[in-house]
Amino acid sequence: MKTVITSSGNELTSPFDKRFGRAAWFCLYDEKTRERTFFENQYMNANSGVGTKAAEKMVEWNAGKVISGDFGPKAKDLLDQFNIQMVIIQDEDVTVQDIIERLK
């Protein structure tokens, strides 16, 4: 299964971003191959509809799980509809690496 983690940078040591639609980067982690790919969020500074756009990206990448700090109502509905698991973690000061470690 593929997991998406919202990140504020494009490295494993980057801090985890608590926003979903307005996260700077997305880290796509494949549990099978242990591969991590970073994607820049091109909608980060768009005016509206970022949650929907980001959720569409998740569907496109075939993600099964999304880890973020919070999800907007539109993103929630869309992810629910596509049976993508949403995970909210409220821990401060964690890096993308920490989260991947916890998933193992």
Partner: protein, 134 residues
């Protein structure tokens, strides 16, 4: 390998965590685990007075399966009453209409989509999870 267990739909989870007998002379510390779907079966059949066919359709399972869950629920309650045991509600094999959970171990909150067949924490795979009421 046995056949995987289909998830049973529960409209509303029980509003309590358990029942405890009082005024007992020789109390036993053991408890009976009542599953969410068993609570739902009792509720549909004996409180909402539905017949088993309607109730099973509502829970997304076959009528014989519903009958089995209902029977197991009644037996558990009878056992708790006769043997003076505590009743505890346990999550079981249910899925909710609106499903947000919280993990008691790592505090992560998460959803469990219907396509996922196990009920555990998405972060630490602990099964010490609870349904979040909002």
């Amino acid at each position: 390998m046995s056949r995987r267990r289909r998830l049973r739909k529960v409209v509303a989870p029980p509003g309590f965590k358990g029942y405890k007998p009082y005024g007992v002379t020789k109390g036993s510390k053991e408890c009976v685990d009542l599953l969410y779907e068993e609570y739902e079966a009792i509720k549909l059949a004996d409180y909402d007075l539905m017949n088993h066919q309607q109730a099973s359709e509502l829970m997304g399972i076959s009528r014989p399966t519903f009958a089995r869950i209902y029977e197991s629920a009644r037996r558990k309650i009878a056992k708790a009453l006769v043997e003076i045991k505590e009743i505890k509600t346990v999550y079981g094999n249910a899925w909710m209409d609106k499903n947000w959970f919280v993990c008691n171990k790592c505090n992560a909150r998460f959803t469990i989509p219907k396509t996922i067949n196990k009920v555990d924490c998405a972060m630490c795979t602990s099964d010490n999870i609870e349904l979040l009421k909002n």
